[in-house]
Symmetry: C2
Subunit: 558 residues, 2 copies
């Protein structure tokens, strides 16, 4: 059997006009800022705190993933279709894809199979320009920094060697990781070492996703920490009077985007920060918009639950006073085999033994979610290579833990394939099984916050700090940033900071190598390994297989 | 008297919904791709060759400008208002502003005073994302080039020292002019010298503005010349299979944007290439769109007529088979004083003597326009510092040459201030005074084409070629690019290649220092001086005075 590609499925669907989708969530046409017929921005005035308090937030996360990912986005979209199918008014709220990976290995990020958001080409390309706006705001600050160093009349005495702020570009472009700028003589600025990160790694993206409104956005942008003067005074974006111009560049990007699922249900897609060095989830504004307009909001957070859900629950939910009612843990039989020791070439080969052994990874994630006083539901994202006995094992094992596990067939069947999952989620929500509480208080000391996460969530027995990290801690203390959230940057491949420790590692220590500051986002970022902030293209880039015909129909985009 | 700022005037105007503007040119709402309520993209299917042949194209250009510019955009918009006021159905077709200068010295480019296109904030900021799309397409090609050099399996043997293709960013950022990329070890690419130009300087922008449709765009993108292999074979974008992915990134950018003037007349704004190293005028598609939908199209081309009009008439009109019916030469009394020898501090001091002496500059431009068999009209863009005797002199002097010169008060009064100008233009058009012909045939040899422009338009007695230029000519010949247009890159401050030679220089020689190739745009670019492709910010950037309030209202943007 030949499967249709994602783009073929997406293109075969006739889309509803976005004003019809808006009607489903009672948004008047006049409130929409349309971007063509199938995309629209929603005004912030639609956010309604009373509705938010009454409606139901469901977070989709996953077990520790294999490199291909376990299908959180597909499951989130599928679950939304399923909820609508069983009569619930549900909206999916997601991150925007980054353009860089579209031409690289990963491809786009608009779901898959029969659980997609559309128009998928637009969502995966420039969409409504939000990423570009973030990029420009980031790079305006860079230009202002270098211009100030160059300037004779307005000079803040910035020491170029201390500048932590990097330029960004939404492109997989390894050659820009490490560069020297300002060459070619006195007219061309002051030479210094610099580099480009990919746009989702920009602190401006993290800030956009944390901001509550335009005023708060501006304040956060002004608080971005840049580096030091030669006499060791900290320099912030507001010292360069940058925050207003940056906010001007973001005036439209702050508004969430409405699109539709393949089954014509509302999808709000907004913001896309990295899941390692940032919070890895859509804007707070989008989540609140969804909850203002819809009885159920299904959302997701990047990587496994030790990263995405931890940050969603400790950072985003705590800051925005959100109250998640259920967490869906996406598992695949393939990933369970992996955690049971299967090699990548055997991921698709049934093995009850490996699944049995790998279940310990999922079990730890289930335990972790419960530490937030939230009841999980396990969604087994179905693959054709799954055997019945493997699935039965997972379902029974979860039942023993008091957790409902359901086979989710969103990829194959859309909402038809997820009604059971939807019912299980509604069961948890309507029986008020959850009573969310964060795991730490933002006001507690940085080291305490790190320790809670490392021990309670990762299962570490100890946290060590490199010399650099200890220096960073003193800097954080000196700058008065102790009450920031901690946004852990760790490998997604293991509960530990060591890729090789799959399953449920025990008796391990994690090492904090350094701690970065994102003072606009109000994070400190403990780095527990080498973080990639600028991917490269593969030897044969995806761009080579793409085409567009004279009518603008695209193929080869995935 | 305190004048309102441009943004204050623009914000005090209540805009019409874009569908009402579209109605004026008989475009159905369903054909619009709206970007909010006041911007829309127009589908290429509306282009109608029969209508184009019947309707009237008016080009606005200028005498040799002072650094502040003489108000071509303001005059173009004002003239459009005036034409509509006297009962003609007229649309203004313009370039999109670049974002970089908005934060620099120049500010935006959406007209001024009571002759503006709106919403001016959006037009000056990200607008509908076209510049971003150009930037991404340009930088995808850069990433593919460096990725190919890095790649072991797919390597084209490109010699990094020969790469002419640069990255672009739409930001005034001098520190990126001259950089070293690919540092930091084998994982980060191959070290080489590179640099960023500002986005309007990208050949992708020139190509977008020359393309007739999506197929032609793709073909042109594939034909971009990148550099050579180690064994001296030319490498083009198509060798990297880049053209489809680049065209995919430009799928929406190829569609012209509809907005409105302050007097609710249609404005089509699309593309924005540099006026020195590129053609300096909006897309061919936009001009054709305007002519398909409107009886009169008023458009402009960057810098003075020796650059903008020459390229418009020899390159754009010849290639696209356009038939301009009238050229409006914008003059200011201030610029005439300048060409008569006034220092910049005396630009606003009346001096009949200086105006008399400076008129020779305008006279040469009048002669030049007539070489294309087109009748000019002179628009004296009014300033409060103009004296009556200066204006009278210009009007009479023009009359002696058989040219109507009219005081244009679009900045102060909008269409009320330009009805006389509009009548003069209609007079030329309706009496079929013009019968456009280009000055050279594209098929003639490169050196002949350069010589025609230098002698006929600039008034040079001779053209010299540097050693580099001679080498470049041999390369062009070897690559088979002799039948490309020549897109001259020369200072805008003088007819000659020497800034200091104001007025009407005579007995001068111009020197072609090098000749670049833009094989996708089908230009060769003779460089007659140092061309700035990446501006810097001033010591006190414009961004410092900008602000945005909690409702999103912007101030300080100009």
């Amino acid at each position: 059997m030949k499967y249709q590609s994602d783009i073929e499925i997406a293109q075969s669907k006739e889309l509803k006009h976005i004003k019809e989708i808006a009607q489903k969530i009672n948004v008047k046409e006049d409130d929409l800022e349309m971007y063509g017929k199938y995309k629209a921005k929603l005004p912030l005035s639609l956010i309604d705190d009373e509705q938010i308090a009454q409606n139901n937030l469901v977070l989709v996360t996953a077990l520790t993933p294999t490199p291909a990912g376990e299908g959180k986005t597909t499951t989130s979209i599928g679950l939304t279709e399923g909820l609508n199918k069983i009569g619930k008014q549900a909206t999916v709220v997601l991150r925007e894809p980054s353009l860089g990976p579209v031409f690289g290995i990963k491809g786009g990020a608009a779901g898959g199979g029969f659980s997609q958001v559309v128009p998928m080409e637009d969502i995966n390309l420039h969409f409504t320009g939000d990423f570009n706006a973030v990029e420009k705001a980031n790079n305006l600050l860079s230009a202002l920094i270098d211009n100030n160093i160059q300037s004779k009349t307005n000079n803040l005495n910035i020491d170029p060697r201390t500048i932590l702020w990097k330029r960004v570009i939404d492109m997989n472009d390894r050659s820009l990781r490490d560069i020297t700028i300002g060459l070619g003589g006195t007219a061309n600025g002051v030479p210094r070492q610099d580099g480009f990160n990919i746009t989702p790694a920009s602190e401006v993206m993290a800030i956009l996703c944390m901001a509550s409104d335009l005023e708060n956005l501006k304040e956060r942008l002004g608080n971005i920490f840049i580096g030091f003067t030669y006499d060791n005074k900290p320099i912030f974006a507001k010292d360069l009077k940058a925050e207003n111009a940056m906010a001007i560049l973001l005036k439209d990007a702050i508004k969430p985007n409405l699109v539709q699922t393949l089954e014509e249900n509302p999808a709000i897609i907004h913001g896309g920060p990295f899941a390692n060095i940032a919070q890895g989830t859509n804007t707070i504004i989008a989540t609140k918009m969804g909850l203002s307009l819809s009885n159920y909001v299904v959302t997701e957070a990047g990587f496994g639950a030790d990263l995405g859900a931890e940050k969603f629950l400790n950072i985003k939910s705590q800051f925005a006073k959100l109250n998640p009612k259920c967490v869906v843990l996406v598992a695949t039989i393939r990933a369970l085999r992996h955690h049971g020791g299967a090699k990548s070439e055997d991921y698709n080969t049934p093995s009850l033994e490996k699944v049995k052994d790998g279940f310990k990874n999922l079990e730890k994630h289930i335990e972790n979610i419960r530490k937030f006083n939230i009841e999980p539901v396990v969604a087994v994202n179905a693959f054709t290579s799954d055997s019945e006995e493997e699935i039965d094992f997972v379902v029974k094992k979860c039942a023993n833990l008091g957790v409902t596990a359901v086979l989710s067939k969103g990829w194959e069947k859309g909402g038809e394939g997820t009604t059971e999952l939807a019912k299980a989620v509604v069961e948890v929500v309507e029986h008020k099984a959850s009573n969310y509480k964060p795991l730490y208080d933002w006001k507690s000391p940085i080291k305490d916050k790190i320790e809670v996460i490392a021990k309670e969530i990762y299962g570490a027995i100890n946290v060590e700090y490199s010399k650099q990290a200890q220096l960073n801690l003193r800097r954080i203390d000196r700058l008065g940033f102790n009450d920031f959230a901690v946004c852990m940057a760790k490998t997604q491949k293991s509960f530990s900071d060591n890729d090789a420790l799959i399953g449920r590692p025990e008796n391990f220590t994690v090492t904090v190598r350094e701690i970065e500051i994102a003072s606009g986002a109000q994070f400190v970022i403990p780095i527990l390994g080498k973080m990639m902030r600028m991917p490269g293209l593969p030897a044969k880039p995806a761009s080579e297989n793409m085409s567009i015909d004279k009518n603008g129909v695209i193929s080869g985009l995935s």
